[in-house]
Symmetry: C2
Subunit: 581 residues, 2 copies
C-alpha cells in the first residue's frame, strides 16, 4: 500500500508485466486482499446468480477462471472481476424472452451468452475498436445504471416479502399472508438494518474499540459474510426451511467441470444483440472503474488490453459453466483497500473460493434467499444516482433530460430500449446544439488587435464592413440558421459593402454548408456585396482549397481579423470619402 | 419579365400580397405563363398519375385546386405545383403494401395520402417546425432523388416494351414478342428521339428559322404536347389500339366532384409514415426549387408559408380526388421563362386545364401509354445526378459515401429504408468527424501576438508552458481522444509545468466533456502541473461559470493566448532561473 512510485507495479508494461517484475514486498498485500475479497464476494456472487435467475453455485463458478484470465491479460492492478449486479440483471431480462427461468435451456443460454460476449469483447480488443464505446455519453451511462439499479431493487421485493412474485395489490398480499411471510420479512428487515449499520457506522465503532483504521474498514466490509454465517446458524437451528422460509435448497460440492455444448445457429443469432449489449456495458463500466482506481494509485490502464482481459474472463466464465462477468466497483474498492498490489490478489481469491467450493459450499444450501436479496438491495441502492441527475440538469437541460429518459426508458422499455433511447437523445441533443450556432457581429477592442462581440463589448466597427464570427462547425443542421443570421445582420447594418466571415471557431464545413456558402456568396454578389474570410483553420483550408467557391467566389482570405480590418476598412474609406465631399 | 425591382411583385409581403399590390403590367406575363404551363403539364400530369398507379385523369384533377390553394398561401411568385415524378413514385411504392394497384381501395388510399400529407404540412407550417427539414443533408437529398429517378426509369421499361411487367430475362421477352410489342417499341423510340432532340437542339433550330429567342425556348418546351397530338392522330388513324398497343382507354369528361369518404382508423395509422415521408420530400424539394427561382428574380421566400401553401395544395388535391402534389422543377422553370409574375399564372393554368377537362379530355383515351412512359423517362433522367456524387466524393469521402448509400438504399431497401440509411450515415459522419478533433500545440509567431500550430509554422514556445488549441467542441465522442492527445503532448514536452488549453474553437462543452476535463485537471495536479484556459467563448463561459471545475480546479482563465503566454511564461522563468543558477 506504499505510495512510493518505485514500489508500484507497472500498469502498462505489457502482458504480465506485473509478474515479470514481481517483488516480494507486494506479496503480503496481495495475500490479504485475496483473502478479504474472496470472503466478501461469496455472498455477492451467489446473490447475483440468483438475480440472473440461475442456481447460486453458478455465481461461485463465475468467480474462478475469470480472475485468472483477467490476471493474464488485464492492465489494471486493482480491478476485481466476477458477477456484478448489472450484468446479472441483463442476463435475466435479455434471456427472459428466449427461455424460461430455471430451465436447463435457460442455464445453457446464460453460459452461451457469457461465451459470446467473451468472443465479442476479445475481438473488439484485437481489432482495437474500443473507441466505439466513446459514443456512450456520461448521462446515458449514468441513466442506464440508475434505471437498472431500480429494476434490480424492484426484482428483489418478492424475496423480501417471501412471495413467489410481486403481488397485484396490498389486498392480495394480505389475503395470502402466512407465518412464513412474516419470518422472511423479519429476517430481511433485521439483515437490512445490520448491513446498513455496517456500511455507515460499523467501521467508526470498530475504530472506537481501538482497532487500527485499515483493519476496522476491512472488518466492516465483511459484514455480509457475518450475516451469512449468522443466517445459516439461525436457519438450521430453528429449522426455518420446514416453516416455509425459502432457502437456496441445494448446492453441489466440487469445482465446475470444463463445459462445452455446440449451440444451434438460431440460438447464436438470438443471442447476438443481448451479447453485444452485455459486452458494451461490461466494457464501459469495467474501464470506468479501472480508470478511477488507476488514478488513485497514479497508474494507467490500456483500454484495448482491458477488452482482451474482459473477453478472456467471460470466455473463462462460460467454459466453466459460469455466467457473464465484469469488473465490480465495490469488490475492486475492497481489493485496493485490502492492499492488492497486482492481479495476484485475484488469483489468490480464486484459490480460496475454489477451496470453499471443494469443502463447505454445500452448507450454503440452508441459506434463506431473503439474505441474498438483502445483499443485492444494499449493493444496488447506492447506484441510484440522483446527484448526477441534478448535476446534469443544472449544467444543461438537454443532458439532464437524456439521463432521466435513459433511466425511465430502462424501466419502461427495457434495457435495449433504454440504451437506444439514451443514445438517440444524446446524439439529437448534440445535433440540436449544433443547429443553433452562436453568431456574433464583432468589432475591434479600441487600441488592440482583439475583436469581440458588439453585443458584449464596447468595440469599434467600420461602417462598410460587416464582420461575423460563426461559433460552430458549418454543417447540414445549421446552414439555414447561418444564412438567416447573415441576412438579419445585413438588415441591421444596411451600409455593408464587404462581409467578413471569421472562421476561427469553424473546425469543419460539410458539403451542405459549402453549397449554402456558395449560394450566399452569389446572393451577396447580386447586391454588390463581397464576401471575404479570415482565420480559416489549416485543416478547413486544406479541404476548401480545391473548391470553386474559394477559388472563384470568395474575395480574399485573411490570416487574421486584424489584417482584414486594416485592409478592407481603409480600402472602403478611400472610396467612401469622395462621395461625402 | 422586367428585372426592375419596382415592377417586381412582393414575395414576402404577407398572404396574398401579390394580389393586393397587383399591377396591370404583370397580366400579360401571367397569361402567357398560364397558357404555356397548362399545355406543358397536361401530358406530365397524366404521366405521373400513371407512374403513381392511378387513372390518368387523377393527374389532371391534381392540377386544379392545388394551384389555387398555392396562390392563396404561397410566398413564391414562380413555383408551379402539381403532380411530380418523385411523389408519383412514392405514392406507388408506399401504397403497394396497403392495396393492390388499380383497385378502388388503392385510389381511395392515394387520395387519403394526399389529404393526410396536406394536414401534416399545414400543421408543421402552423407550428413553425419547418426547421426539422434542415436535418436532411444535401448528400441525402441528392442521393434520394437520384435513387428515385433510377427506380422511376426502371418502372417505365415495361411500358416502353409494351409488356405488362418486366420480363425475367431476354429469352422470355423474345418468346412472347408480338407485332404489338414492335409497334409500341417503335413509337417509344421515335418519341424518345423527338423529345431528346427537342430538349437539346430544337430551340436553337427555331432561332435559326428567325424566331425570337424567348419564343423559340417556349415553343421547344411544348414538344411533349406536339408529341401527344401527333400520337393521338397516328393511333386513331392507324387504329393501333385494335392492333394491341396499350392506350389510356377511358377518360371521363368533366370536372372532379368534391370528394369525401371517412377513413378507418387503421387506414390512417397505416398511412402515417408514408404521409410523413411524402410531406418531408415535398417540403424539402419544393422549398429548394422555390428558393433557387426566387434568387433568379432577387425575391425571397418564407419556408413556413411554403409549408402552409403546400399543405393547402395537398388538401385541395385530396378533396377533389387528386393525389399528392409538390412544386415541380421543370414546370416552375417554364413558368418563369414564360413570364409568370405572380401565382395568378397558376390560377390561369388551372382554368385552362379545367376547360380542357370539360371539353376535349375524352380524346386522350386514345393516347398510347408508351407516350406517357417516354414523357416520364425524359423528365427523370436529368435527375440522376452523377456530377453531385463526383463532387461530394471529391470534397469528402464520407459525404460521397452517404450520397451513394442513400441512392443504393432507395434502390435496394425502398424509399423509407434509403432515407433512413442516409440520415443515419450523415449523422454518423458528423459524429465521426467530431470524434477525431484536430488538436495543435501552438507557439507564438515571432514578433507578433499570433499563435500558430508548431507543426505548420516556425514559432517560439516557452519551455515550461504547453499551449494546446482544441479545434472541436468537447463532447462525449471525443473526450477520450482529447485526453490522449494531451498526455501524448506531455510526453513530447516533458518539462511542462503549466498547461494552457486554448478554447477559441470550442463552442460547447457537454457534461461528459466536463467530467473528462475535471478528471484531467486532477490527474495533472497529481503530477504538479497546473491547467489554465484561454479564449473561452462567452456562451461557453456562461455555461462553465457555475461548475466546480472552473471555480476550484482550473488555475487562471486568460482573455487571450497572448496575455496567457506573457503571464505564465514570465512567471515560470522567474521561478526557473534561480534553480539553474
Amino acid at each position: 500500500m506504499s505510495d512510493n512510485p518505485r514500489l508500484q507495479p507497472p500498469g502498462d508494461s505489457g502482458l504480465l508485466g506485473w509478474l515479470r517484475h514481481y517483488r516480494l514486498a507486494w506479496l503480503s498485500g496481495d495475500l490479504t486482499a485475496g483473502l478479504v475479497v474472496s470472503v466478501m464476494i461469496i455472498p455477492q456472487s451467489m446473490a447475483y446468480a440468483m438475480l440472473a435467475g440461475l442456481p447460486v453455485q453458478i455465481g461461485l463458478y463465475a468467480s474462478l477462471l475469470p480472475l485468472l484470465a483477467y490476471a493474464l491479460f488485464g492492465s489494471s492492478m486493482s480491478l476485481s472481476v466476477g458477477p456484478v449486479a448489472v450484468t446479472g440483471l441483463m442476463t435475466a431480462t435479455l434471456l427472459a424472452p428466449l427461455a424460461s427461468i430455471g430451465s436447463g435451456a435457460y442455464l445453457q443460454m446464460a453460459i452461451w451468452l457469457a461465451l459470446l460476449s467473451g468472443v465479442m469483447l476479445f475481438a473488439v480488443g484485437l481489432l482495437r475498436l474500443g473507441f466505439l464505446a466513446n459514443f456512450l455519453s456520461h448521462p446515458v451511462i449514468s441513466g442506464f445504471i440508475s434505471g437498472a439499479a431500480i429494476l434490480i431493487a424492484i426484482s428483489q421485493l418478492p424475496h423480501l416479502l417471501g412471495v413467489p412474485a410481486l403481488p397485484s395489490g396490498p389486498q392480495q398480499l394480505l389475503d395470502s399472508w402466512t407465518l412464513a411471510n412474516s419470518l422472511v420479512l423479519g429476517i430481511g428487515l433485521v439483515s437490512l438494518a445490520w448491513l446498513m449499520y455496517a456500511r455507515s457506522m460499523l467501521a467508526r465503532h470498530l475504530r472506537g474499540l481501538g482497532l487500527p483504521p485499515v483493519a476496522a474498514t476491512l472488518l466492516a466490509r465483511l459484514a455480509p459474510i457475518v450475516l451469512v454465517i449468522a443466517a445459516l446458524l439461525v436457519t438450521v437451528s430453528g429449522d426455518l426451511a420446514a416453516r416455509g422460509v425459502p432457502v437456496v435448497g441445494f448446492l453441489p460440492a466440487g469445482l465446475p467441470a470444463f463445459f462445452w455444448a455446440t449451440p444451434e445457429f438460431s440460438d447464436i443469432r438470438a443471442l447476438l444483440l443481448p451479447a453485444a449489449l452485455i459486452s458494451l456495458v461490461t466494457f464501459v463500466e469495467s474501464v470506468a472503474i479501472a480508470q478511477s482506481l488507476a488514478r488513485r494509485k497514479r497508474q494507467s490502464i490500456d483500454a484495448d488490453r482491458e477488452l482482451l482481459a474482459l473477453g478472456a474472463a467471460n470466455l473463462g466464465a462460460g467454459l466453466t459453466g459460469g455466467f457473464a462477468v465484469a469488473g465490480g466497483f465495490s469488490r475492486s474498492v475492497v481489493n485496493i483497500e485490502a492492499g492488492a498490489n497486482t492481479p495476484l490478489a485475484g488469483v489468490i481469491a480464486m484459490t480460496i473460493i475454489g477451496l470453499i467450493l471443494l469443502t463447505i459450499a454445500p452448507l450454503f444450501a440452508h441459506l434463506p434467499l431473503v439474505i441474498l436479496a438483502v445483499v443485492i438491495l444494499v449493493a444496488v441502492t447506492p447506484l441510484i444516482d440522483v446527484a448526477s441527475l441534478r448535476r446534469a440538469w443544472r449544467y444543461d437541460r438537454a443532458e439532464g433530460l437524456t439521463l432521466f429518459s435513459t433511466a425511465a426508458g430502462v424501466l419502461l422499455l427495457g434495457i435495449e430500449g433504454g440504451i437506444a433511447l439514451g443514445i438517440c437523445l444524446s446524439i439529437a441533443a448534440q445535433l440540436w446544439r449544433g443547429s443553433r450556432p452562436h453568431i456574433a457581429v464583432v468589432g475591434r477592442v479600441p487600441g488592440t488587435q482583439d475583436f469581440r462581440n458588439t453585443k458584449r463589448h464596447l468595440v469599434e466597427i467600420e461602417p462598410h464592413l460587416l464582420a461575423l464570427r460563426i461559433d460552430e462547425n458549418i454543417f447540414f443542421a445549421n446552414t439555414k440558421a447561418i444564412e438567416h443570421a447573415l441576412y438579419r445582420a445585413l438588415r441591421d447594418y444596411p451600409d455593408t459593402r464587404e462581409v467578413l466571415l471569421i472562421l476561427s471557431a469553424v473546425n469543419h464545413i460539410d458539403s451542405t454548408g459549402l453549397d449554402m456558402l456558395s449560394e450566399l456568396t452569389e446572393g451577396l454578389a447580386e447586391r454588390d456585396i463581397h464576401l471575404h474570410l479570415a482565420e480559416v483553420k489549416g485543416p478547413v483550408m486544406d479541404h476548401l482549397g480545391e473548391t470553386d467557391w474559394i477559388n472563384e467566389q470568395v474575395g480574399e482570405v485573411f490570416p487574421s481579423t486584424h489584417i482584414a480590418f486594416n485592409t478592407l476598412g481603409n480600402q472602403k474609406r478611400a472610396v467612401a470619402e469622395p462621395e461625402q465631399a
